[in-house]
Symmetry: C2
Amino acid sequence: MALYVQKYGGTSVGSVERISVVADKLIGYKQQGHDIVVVVSAMSGETNRLLALANDISKQPSVRELDVLLSTGEQVTIALLCMALEQRGQSARSYTGGQVRIETDDAHGKARIKTIDDHRIRADLADGRIVVVAGFQGVDCDGNITTLGRGGSDTTGVALAAALKADECQIFTDVDGVYTTDPRVVSKARRLERITFEEMLELASLGSKVLQIRAVEFAGKYNVALRVKSSFEDGPGTLITYEDNDMEDALISGIAFSRDEAQLTIKGVPDQPGIAHAIIGPIAAANVEVDMIVQNVAGDGSTDFTFTVHRGDFSKALAILETTAKQVGAKDVSGDDTIVKVSVVGVGMRSHAGVAATMFDALGKEGINIRMISTSEIKISVVVMEKYMELAVRTLHDVFELDKAA
Amino acid sequence: MALYVQKYGGTSVGSVERISVVADKLIGYKQQGHDIVVVVSAMSGETNRLLALANDISKQPSVRELDVLLSTGEQVTIALLCMALEQRGQSARSYTGGQVRIETDDAHGKARIKTIDDHRIRADLADGRIVVVAGFQGVDCDGNITTLGRGGSDTTGVALAAALKADECQIFTDVDGVYTTDPRVVSKARRLERITFEEMLELASLGSKVLQIRAVEFAGKYNVALRVKSSFEDGPGTLITYEDNDMEDALISGIAFSRDEAQLTIKGVPDQPGIAHAIIGPIAAANVEVDMIVQNVAGDGSTDFTFTVHRGDFSKALAILETTAKQVGAKDVSGDDTIVKVSVVGVGMRSHAGVAATMFDALGKEGINIRMISTSEIKISVVVMEKYMELAVRTLHDVFELDKAA
């Protein structure tokens, strides 16, 4: 007998048929004696349909009104899911964010949850109801509707689990857990029983889009046990936990990669204070996100900068960099949008030397040239040419023996 | 400088283009110096789309959840209309029923408005905003979403006008006012400058579906001046008022008709106390609405009953009546679903005799047989064969000279 907060995403509730499947699943959990609070997203496609209407009306729709509009998507789903539950004889009750009440700040489109009033939900659970809450939304202190931004339903789930002191927050998605790497690239990829929050954060930000990063941060902050499970098949999924002493003993938990990268280099820049800002400042000002940054001193009083950006921002960033080069008197600007980033992630590397050496050695033996390196406490990332991506991921998966349970 | 509450129905806001037209119109009123509160319905087709989803999930969807679902329709419209206004440089703010807050009883699907909190709307108007409110919806005292039933947006408009003591509640629709009769039947039909609430109630219930009857009742109760105007062209429309001393001097304001009728007769029923209930009771119990009822005493200790029902209920009612006939020992049951009802309506007939005589005489001269007659203080209705409907309406329009302004 546990209290679970379960979150089902847009694909899991994307049609009347799928909503019915979720309803059957929920009743199964309820019949096992558990208390269930469900968080749902908009039916897949609905948010885009609403955004298209807004964009037909206005190039820059009012952020307040956009939240009024988009929040209807989840409201439709909560009503339909409750109807499906009641049709099956299970009493249920839906709540919008404002009805719960999930109070946020007033940053429309990217609001942060401040407080959750749990008294109506607790009363419904005590009455034997399944409670269905609209994800992604809340109200500010004046009652204006806010949204948490795309993927915010995960955050709603975690925040509710924290407020209700739930035993687990279970995120149902189209994968059955977190894998050591993408099974489409490495057939021997293995589902992890557990992973730490820190590793998950690194894996999420590196492109393993199983969970929204803000939800993971939130779960870590409030010590909420998060579990990723499949909407479509049974199985234990992967538990994301904050206790690393309780972890599998592995050095490395997973290999992440991102194709969506481009590299830019500016050479022969005068090596003087403020030069980094002179180069990166205009890029950031143009709303281009810069990921890895590496600086080498050439030894002749000049220095070289290399950094990566999202591939979609490549030509924009290159144009800005060429302007900057003229202004600071740089020798040369070059770029490459056929590169990728591959990262090994694991809390185990904190206490074990040699991970970097093993990684570089393995890639070198396969003839893969490393073009950039960036390291953090639990992650080592390298930039390599795109054509080597699959080979690099498979090689690292093998050398760290990720196919074997620790 | 006046305060207007304007209501635009689903057709008027049925597409992004039409919403833009409404936005331009609203800004025009605002620029004339008026304060504007707008009530909108769901975009045409949206409520039916949502109902279809509900019916796919459940044959009898939970009424609470149906209201959660349907209320999203208007919420989409308020957001889009505010975006259109702000795109044009006019500050605006949207409110759901719950945000206003429009508090209703808890009769889901047919809730009645109890109180309206006007403080947020007044503050917005004072700040120069156009306020856009979702029609058709409210919340009960526990914050559960309720709806007022189909057409409830008119009621929302009237209730807001009453709460705000607005100068007029203007209902924008696809007709440019209330006519003496349907212009498709009588080409000389004339738009009325004014009509009383009582006449409007009779005309609405008889099938002139310009306004929802509950909205008209509500307006009468709270002395709200209601005006029907066209969404698509300019013009004064028709003012619906509660002061009949201020009215046009006409005997008759309009001719209503309804094709959707059927007549049933049971003959040779024993003339004894309780017999009317024995006949009508089983019909009402089957949820068939009975309209006109006429009873004639045959003189041989038996009596004949004739009554009308909606044409769609004809065969159901006939079957029930045949069973009843056996039970009470009646001689004969007959029915006709090719009849129509034609009514003349006017507060003027209260103080003028002879309206009925003029009506019957005119119909008789045209060879139109009257099969049933029913009268009220401001209305005389007759049942005639369907083939005579247009002739009857034109004849009465002529004889009461409705094409001429009083």
